[in-house]
């Protein structure tokens, strides 16, 4: 019999009860009539919410390739939320923890206590007879997965710079190229290949270039300085310099830095 919640007594029952109680009562005070009894309708939290989230459609998680199946790189082996299984040998994990095959071979589900005491792994072996985990301290099983071809245009091997070039090799790792007589390098600078695949002068050379030019000019009795060297206390020279600077900056403001006139920009 299904359970029902307790219901409030009916009017007839209440009337009988009242009569019974009145016979037992010693006093004859007026008993207030039963005028109105509030009815409580059954309402329970188990009924559920009207606008709540319902159970969604199944996402078809789980194993897609069983142990021993032949797979190719990219094949999905296991779909999961989180890492119930970890990628083992020759497998990789995608951004939603999907385990993919990394190389052609046969799937193996295994545990490797040496790698982690509790985790479960999915790996790939290259031959059907092999198993995982690999024996400890043994050389790893690896597949090359490549073929050798003759190069269509064999590279011109560059002659070793220290035997044939006039300029000394200055680069730190032994690779120097000096691009001379080219449009890109009219100054004939020594450009070395840096770590970001840029051909550039090294920073200390750039920093010293000013000093070098000044020294070269001094050797001829000239100087490349626009103004004389700063002498602390010589206010006249400082005033002359500031006058020139102010005039130049005023001119630049009027003329604009490098494009159209500055006066045109405002308004």
């Amino acid at each position: 019999m299904p359970l029902t919640h307790p219901k409030a007594p009916s009017m007839a029952t209440l009337a009988c009860l009242q009569f019974a109680l009145s016979t037992l009562r010693t006093t004859h005070h007026a008993v207030p009539a039963i005028t109105h009894i509030t009815r409580r309708n059954a309402s329970h939290q188990a009924q559920g919410r009207a606008n709540g989230a319902k159970d969604g459609a199944g996402k078809r998680l789980g194993a897609k390739k069983t142990g021993g199946e032949y797979v190719v790189p990219g094949n999905i082996l296991f779909r999961q939320r989180g890492t119930h299984w970890f990628p083992g040998d020759n497998c990789f994990m995608g951004r939603d923890h999907t385990i993919h095959a990394g190389s052609p071979g046969y799937v193996r589900y295994y545990q490797d206590p040496a790698r982690h005491p509790k985790r479960k792994f999915i790996g790939i072996v290259f031959e059907k007879t092999q198993s995982l985990p690999q024996p400890t301290h043994a050389a790893r099983r690896r597949q090359l997965g490549m073929l050798a071809y003759q190069m269509p245009t064999p590279p011109q091997p560059e002659t070793t710079p220290d035997e044939h070039s006039a300029a000394p090799t200055k680069s730190r790792d032994g690779t120097t190229v000096s691009i001379r007589n080219s449009k890109m390098n009219p100054g004939g600078l020594q450009l070395t290949l840096g770590p970001g695949y840029q051909y550039r002068q090294s920073n200390y050379e750039i920093g010293r270039s000013g000093d070098k030019k000044e020294a070269a000019a001094n050797a001829k009795g000239k100087t490349i300085r626009a103004f004389a060297k700063f002498k602390p206390g010589d206010r006249f020279a400082a005033w002359r310099k500031s006058v020139v600077r102010v005039a130049r900056s005023r001119e630049r403001k009027v003329m604009g830095r490098g494009g159209k006139g500055g006066a045109k920009k405002k308004g």
Binding site: Y70, V71, V72, P73, N75, P104, H137, A138, A139, R140, R142, Q143, L144, G145, M146, L147, A148, Y149, Q150, M151, P154, P155, P157, E158, T159, T160, D162, E163, T169, R172, D173, G174, T175
Partner: protein, 455 residues
């Protein structure tokens, strides 16, 4: 000195005021031109042309003069200022009471430890003099001999510990070690150097070796106890008198042009004694298309190289070439190369210790001494068909055959770059114009559905 220091600004003031006062008084009292009354205007003050001390030059003018002397300042500017403004009292004689009392306490402690060291030496000598006698000829005597050897060994270890403990509280020892002036013949400096290596660089080396799988691929296990350093010469040794060396960190990529020359290897052991080592450079990533896998190749093999805490530099290109340089080269240096398209190749440098003549276990613990190594017969090794070919060289087999113990390793990597073709051609290696491309893997068959939607 403090008075001099305090009086310097005052002296400067007096000097300045005397020069100006003279002119001013003359100007106010007489009508004549003060410059004419003066005998001659003082010559313009030149910077004093004395030589500057690189330890004490701290002002900008002094540093500039030092640069003109083509010298570099030593230490930080604060240190130089402190040294120039204080008297040259040796550190141990600084007049601070707590410091001197602490020093006295430590010296007393050191005296006690030295006495204990003397006693320990006497004990060891007495124990070694004791003759082992067994009732039955054989097992009991052997067991007693073994026990005696163990006791001697452990007492020796304790003696080394005590030597280190005697000097470890000395601030001058710490200072000398940090300045790089530690004498590696003394146990305390070896201990400090070993601790420093263990704290960082050895961990880095182990990380590189395990992450790049050198340990299971080349050797089953490796516990480094000697520290290594590697550098390649940047210019050809034939043209330059003294070639510059480029230091390589563990696991670095080295350009082919650089690794075409044999490198310099520093092998620093931390236990006393000279031992003979074998150096093998193995490349476990040589591509083999027929077996669809990788082969090993030996790029260098040399035996009987003497290494000690003070003699650490090994020029791989000069071993066995002159009568002075010891060591026998079985396979000379082959430049490291990786063909185009092949993955990067790991060049592992393994340092192996040669066993002692009567095959006693080599005590290579932190504080133990090393037993004398046996010379490996280079002639017979060079005639052994397994170990005189580079391709397919099996280091595990070589180690087992000669009872070697791996004590150290280094690692660098090589890949195809612009100079590799040239290096391979110069070395006469076949295959400089071969490139590798990935094999096409056939996709798995799947049922194609009828409709266009399921293409």
């Amino acid at each position: 000195m403090a008075l001099q220091r305090a009086s310097r600004p005052v002296a400067q003031c007096i000097r300045q005021s005397s020069s100006t006062l003279h002119a001013r008084t003359l100007a106010t009292t007489t009508t004549t031109d003060p410059s004419s009354a003066d005998a001659a205007p003082p010559p313009p003050s030149e910077p004093s042309s004395r030589t500057r001390n690189p330890f004490t030059a701290s002002t900008p003018a002094a540093e500039k003069q030092l640069a003109q002397q083509k010298q570099r300042p030593v230490g930080s500017r604060r240190r130089r200022a402190a040294l120039s403004s204080t008297t040259q009292i040796p550190f141990t004689q600084l007049p601070y009471q707590a410091f001197q009392e602490a020093r006295a306490f430590l010296q007393e402690d050191r005296r006690e430890k030295l006495e204990a060291i003397g006693l320990q030496r006497v004990k060891i000598a007495r124990l070694q003099d004791r003759v082992v006698v067994g009732e039955q000829d054989g097992e009991v005597e052997r067991r007693k001999q073994r026990e005696k050897d163990n006791r001697v060994r452990s007492m020796g270890r304790r003696l080394e510990e005590m030597k280190v403990q005697a000097d470890i509280n000395d601030p001058m020892v710490k200072k000398r070690f940090e300045d790089g002036l530690g004498d590696m013949t003394k146990p305390i400096y070896r201990h400090l150097a070993n601790t420093q290596w263990h704290s960082y660089k050895r961990q880095i080396l182990l990380q590189r070796l395990t992450q790049m799988n050198v340990v299971p691929d080349v050797l089953p296990a490796l516990d480094p106890i000697v520290s290594t350093g590697l550098a390649f010469p940047t210019t050809s040794s034939t043209t330059a008198i003294r070639s510059r060396l480029k230091r390589i960190q563990h696991g670095d990529f080295v350009p082919s042009a650089l690794s075409s020359q044999p490198p310099t290897l520093w092998i620093q052991p931390y236990n006393k004694g000279t031992r003979l080592c074998t150096v093998a450079v193995i490349n476990p990533d040589v591509p083999n298309v027929e077996k669809d896998g990788f082969d090993h190749r030996c790029h260098f093999l040399a035996v009987n190289i003497p290494i000690s805490p003070t003699n650490t530099k090994v020029r791989l290109g000069e071993l066995g070439s002159t009568s002075e340089s010891k060591g026998d080269v079985l396979l000379p240096w082959l430049p490291a190369y990786a063909q185009k398209g092949a993955p990067y190749q790991r060049m592992s440098i393994i340092i192996l210790e040669q066993p002692s003549p009567n095959h006693t276990p080599i005590v290579t613990t932190l504080l133990g001494a090393v037993a004398e190594s046996q010379e490996l017969d280079a002639k017979s090794a060079s005639q052994d068909s397994r170990y005189n070919v580079r391709d397919g060289f099996n280091l595990r087999s070589f180690v087992d055959r000669y009872g070697l113990k791996p004590v150290g390793a280094d690692l660098f990597r090589t890949k195809w770059d612009e100079g590799t073709a040239g290096v391979m051609q110069q070395a006469g290696i076949v295959g400089w114009d071969v490139e590798f491309r990935r094999k096409r893997v056939e996709p798995l068959p799947y049922q194609r559905k009828a409709s266009e939607r399921y293409r």
